[in-house]
C-alpha cells in the first residue's frame, strides 16, 4: 500500500510541477492589466510632434523669469538640459564634440544653422529656420517655416507649422508633418508624411475633368455586386472612355490615356493608370499601382506592394484629402499628394 501511495504522490507531484508557474500567477498576479494595445491617438501622423510641443510648453512655462529670454543654458524643470539660442548660432557652441549637440535646443531667432551638425535631442524652432547641409536631427518642431538642407537626416519626426522644405538626398525616418505643406527635393527617402499638400518640387492641382468621353460598356460576364461591377480576369479600358460605376477586377486593370472612372477601382493584381487617366474614387490593388504622367486619383490609393506616382500626377485635391499607402512608394517630379503618405518600407522621390 505504501509503495502505491508513494507512487501516486510522486505522480501527482509530477503532474502539478508544470502548473506551478500558473498557480503562482493566480495567487500573486503579475500581469493583470488590460493589454495596452488600444490605440487612442498614435495613428495620428503628427502625434509625437504635438505631444512634444505640449510637453515643452509646460516645461518652459515653469522656468524662472531669467530663463525665459535671451541666450540661456540650463535645465528644464524635469532635469532635461536645454539651450536657448536667441541671437546667433554662436550659442550652439556648447557642444560635446565638434558639431554634436546633446542638449534640447530652442531656436528663438530666425537663422541658418551650420552644416554637418548632429542634434542628439529635439530641436524647437520658434522662428523661421534653415538647417545646414548634412545635419542629423533626432526630432525637430518648428512654429514657422522650416527648411532642411541637402543630405539631412531626421531620425524620429519633424513638424513645421509653416511649409517644411526638404533638401535633396535627405533621409526622413519616422513621421514628417506640416500644417501647411511639405515640399520634397529629389532623391529623398521617407516613411510617413502628412500635410495639406505634399509635393516633389512645385505642387500641381488636380487636372480638369475631361470633356467628351465615350460611355464604356462592360464585357460579357461582368456581374453587378451591390454598388460595383465585378469582372473576372484582366480588364483594359481604352483611352477616352467613361466608366460610371465602381469596378472590382480579379486580375489586372489598365485604364487607357484620358479614361475616367466615376467610382472606385480595385484589382487583385496591378492597377495601371495611363497618362491623363482619372479615377474619382479610390484605387486599391493587391499588388502595385502604377500611375503615369498627369493622371489623377480623387480618393485614397492603397496597394499591398508598391505605388509609383508619375510626373505631375495628383492624389486628392485641395478640398479632397486622401491617403497614399503602400509598403514602397516612388514619386516623380511634380507628383502631389493632398493629405498623407505611408510607405513603411520606404518611399523615394526622383
Amino acid at each position: 500500500m505504501i509503495p502505491f501511495l508513494a507512487l501516486l504522490a510522486v505522480t501527482l507531484l509530477w503532474m502539478v510541477l508544470p502548473m506551478l508557474p500558473a498557480l503562482r500567477e493566480v495567487v500573486r498576479p503579475t500581469d493583470v492589466a488590460p493589454l495596452k494595445v488600444v490605440d487612442r491617438s498614435s495613428g495620428y501622423v503628427a502625434y509625437f510632434a504635438r505631444n512634444f510641443r505640449q510637453y515643452l510648453d509646460r516645461q518652459m512655462a515653469a522656468l524662472p523669469a531669467e530663463a525665459q529670454a535671451g541666450d540661456y543654458v540650463g535645465k528644464l524643470p524635469d532635469g532635461t538640459q536645454f539651450l536657448r539660442v536667441h541671437k546667433s548660432p554662436a550659442g550652439l557652441a556648447h557642444e560635446v564634440d565638434a558639431g554634436t549637440q546633446n542638449r534640447l535646443v530652442v531656436v528663438d531667432h530666425s537663422m541658418k544653422l551650420a552644416d554637418d551638425r548632429t542634434f542628439l535631442m529635439e530641436v524647437y524652432a520658434r522662428a523661421p529656420t534653415i538647417g545646414g547641409a548634412g545635419s542629423v536631427y533626432r526630432a525637430i518642431y518648428a512654429d514657422r517655416e522650416l527648411g532642411l538642407g541637402e543630405r539631412s537626416t531626421v531620425l524620429r519626426w519633424a513638424h513645421a507649422v509653416g511649409t517644411l522644405g526638404v533638401g535633396s538626398h535627405s533621409v526622413l525616418r519616422g513621421r514628417i508633418t506640416s500644417d501647411t505643406a511639405v515640399v520634397l527635393g529629389g532623391n529623398v527617402v521617407f516613411e510617413r508624411i502628412g500635410a495639406p499638400v505634399i509635393s516633389v518640387g512645385t505642387e500641381r492641382l488636380p487636372p480638369q475633368a475631361p470633356g467628351e468621353l465615350t460611355p464604356w460598356k462592360p464585357p460579357a460576364g461582368a456581374r453587378q455586386v451591390g454598388d460595383h461591377l465585378r469582372i473576372e480576369g484582366d480588364l483594359e479600358i481604352a483611352g477616352g472612355m467613361r466608366v460610371e460605376t465602381s469596378l472590382v477586377v480579379s486580375g489586372m486593370l489598365r485604364l487607357g490615356p484620358g479614361a475616367l472612372v466615376e467610382g472606385s477601382v480595385k484589382a487583385y493584381r496591378d492597377v495601371e493608370l495611363a497618362d491623363g487617366a482619372q479615377v474619382r474614387g479610390a484605387v486599391v490593388a493587391r499588388r502595385r499601382i502604377i500611375i503615369d504622367t498627369a493622371a489623377w486619383v480623387g480618393g485614397p490609393a492603397i496597394a499591398e506592394e508598391r505605388i509609383r506616382i508619375g510626373q505631375g500626377s495628383v492624389i486628392g485635391g485641395p478640398n479632397l484629402p486622401a491617403t497614399v499607402s503602400a509598403p514602397e512608394l516612388e514619386m516623380m517630379a511634380g507628383a502631389t499628394v493632398y493629405g498623407q503618405i505611408s510607405a513603411p518600407l520606404g518611399g523615394r522621390t526622383f
Binding site: E25, V32, V37, V38, G226, R230, V284, I302, P321
Partner: protein, 421 residues
C-alpha cells in the same frame, strides 16, 4: 456493430486532425508570415457619412461610458451620427439616452423599440432604416472605442469590394476573476492569431457583430439583417462572402470590452453563440460547398471549418464516448508501432494546438506574465466543450421549433467608479 462505431470514430479523428493542422498553419503564419493590414494607414480622407448603431437592452451600467467615448472620437462630427437602439429596456437606459439626445441633439439620435422580436439581430433589422449613411458601424453597449477607432474601421470601406470590417476585441476587466483572465487569453488567440491569419492568407475573417461595420449597399444586396438567427454576425459574414463581398479584419483597430465575470454568465453566452453559429452551419455549408465562381477553393475550406467550430465540441465528446465503448467491447483500434506513433504525435501536437495559438498570440502582444496561466485554459476548454455540446444537442432536439430564438443577454458587471482605461 464494430464498423458502425469504428467508421464515425475515424471520421471524427480525421476532422480533429484537420482542425489541428489549421491551428498550426494559422499560428505559424502569424509568427513568421507577412502581416497584412493594407488599410490601417488610411488616416486622411474625404470621410463618408457613418451611422454608429449601439443596441441596448438594459444597459444602464455601461451605456454612458460608451456614448462618451464615441462623442470624443476624431471622426468629423458632421459625418457621424450615433444611434443607440433602446431595445425594450426596463431599467434606466431610456433616461440616459434621452439625456444624451437632448444634450447632443444632432449627434445622438436614439431609436426606440418597444416591442417585436427580442435580440440584437431584430433590433438592428428594425433600426437599419433610421439612417441612409453608406457605412453602418455596430458596437455593443459595454465597449469603449478609442479616439481614432471610427476612422480606422471606415478606412477599409474605400475598397469597393469591402462588405464588412471587423476590429479587435480586448477585454478591459481582466483583473476581476480567473475567468476574465482566461477569456483575455482566449481573445488573444482568437483575434491576434486566428482572425489576423485569415486576413493574411486571404481567407474569411469573421465579422463579429461588434467593433465593426458593414457597407449599407452590401447589407441591402444580401437582404439586410436577418432576425431569425442568434448569430447575426456569422450569418452576415457568409451571406456577404457568398454574394461576392470581402470581409476585412484589422488587428490594429482595437476596442475594450467587458467579458463575463462569472461562469454562469459565460456559459449562457457561449451556449447562445453555439446555437447561432450552428444555425449558420446548417444554412450555409451547402451553398459554400457548391462554390460560387468568385470564391476560391481555400476560402471554401476555411469557410467550412469556420462554420464547424461549434460542432467540434460535441464531435469530440462523441469521439471519446466511441473510443471508450470500443475499448470495453474489446475492439483494438489498430495495432503496431504506427498507431503508437500516431497517438503520441497527436498527444504532443494535436491536444496543444489551440494552446500554441494562444501562447503565440500572447507573445505577439508582448505580454509575458499572462502566458503562465495557459494550463488553466483547460478549465475554460472543458466548460466550453460541455456547454457547446449541450446547446448543440438541445438545438438538434428542437430543430423543428422555428421559434427557438431565445436571446440570452450577457450580464454586465461594471460598477460606478470603475476606472476606464
Amino acid at each position: 456493430m464494430r464498423l458502425a462505431l469504428l467508421i464515425p470514430l475515424y471520421a471524427i479523428v480525421a476532422i480533429m486532425v484537420v482542425y489541428t493542422i489549421r491551428h498550426y498553419l494559422f499560428t505559424l503564419n502569424r509568427l513568421f508570415g507577412r502581416h497584412r493590414q493594407p488599410y490601417v494607414d488610411v488616416g486622411t480622407a474625404s470621410w463618408p457619412r457613418v451611422a454608429v448603431f449601439v443596441p441596448c437592452h438594459n444597459e444602464e451600467r455601461v451605456i454612458a461610458h460608451m456614448l462618451d467615448a464615441l462623442l470624443v472620437c476624431d471622426y468629423p462630427e458632421r459625418q457621424l451620427v450615433i444611434i443607440p437602439i433602446n431595445d425594450r429596456s426596463t431599467d434606466g437606459t431610456a433616461k440616459i439616452l434621452a439625456e444624451y439626445a437632448s444634450k447632443f441633439p444632432v449627434r445622438v439620435a436614439p431609436f426606440v423599440r418597444k416591442g417585436g422580436k427580442p435580440g440584437k439581430a431584430a433590433a438592428l433589422k428594425d433600426a437599419m432604416a433610421a439612417s441612409d449613411a453608406p457605412i453602418h458601424l455596430v458596437f455593443d453597449a459595454d465597449y469603449l472605442p478609442g479616439r481614432g477607432l471610427i476612422k480606422q474601421l471606415v478606412g477599409p470601406f474605400f475598397d469597393p469590394e469591402t462588405g464588412a470590417v471587423m476590429g479587435r476585441v480586448v477585454p478591459m476587466n481582466v483583473n476581476k476573476t480567473l475567468l476574465t483572465r482566461l477569456l483575455d487569453l482566449e481573445r488573444t488567440g482568437g483575434y491576434q492569431v486566428d482572425q489576423q491569419a485569415r486576413m493574411n492568407l486571404g481567407l474569411i475573417p469573421q465579422y463579429g457583430g461588434t467593433v465593426g461595420g458593414v457597407r449599407r449597399a452590401a447589407l441591402i444586396d444580401v437582404g439586410g439583417w436577418r432576425d431569425d438567427t442568434l448569430a447575426e454576425d456569422t450569418d452576415l459574414t457568409f451571406r456577404l462572402v457568398l454574394a461576392g463581398w470581402e470581409v476585412v479584419y484589422q488587428n490594429r483597430s482595437e476596442c475594450y470590452e467587458e467579458v463575463p465575470e462569472s461562469w454562469p454568465s459565460r456559459i449562457r453566452q457561449i451556449k447562445r453563440w453555439a446555437r447561432g453559429h450552428n444555425q449558420s452551419l446548417a444554412r450555409y455549408w451547402w451553398p459554400l460547398l457548391k462554390r460560387p465562381t468568385h470564391v476560391r477553393r481555400w476560402k471554401v475550406v476555411d469557410g467550412l471549418l469556420l462554420l464547424g467550430v461549434f460542432a467540434v465540441g460535441p464531435l469530440l465528446l462523441l469521439g471519446w464516448a466511441l473510443a471508450i465503448a470500443l475499448y470495453y467491447m474489446g475492439v483494438p483500434l489498430s495495432s503496431g508501432v504506427y498507431v503508437i506513433l500516431a497517438v503520441a504525435m497527436y498527444s504532443t501536437l494535436g491536444n496543444f494546438a489551440a494552446f500554441f495559438e494562444v501562447a503565440a498570440g500572447a507573445r505577439l502582444d508582448g505580454s509575458r506574465g499572462r502566458i503562465k496561466l495557459l494550463p488553466f485554459l483547460i478549465v475554460g476548454f472543458l466548460v466550453s466543450l460541455v456547454s457547446v455540446s449541450w446547446a448543440t444537442v438541445a438545438k438538434i432536439a428542437t430543430f423543428w421549433r422555428r421559434d427557438d430564438q431565445r436571446w440570452e443577454k450577457t450580464e454586465r458587471h461594471r460598477e460606478n467608479g470603475t476606472v476606464i482605461p
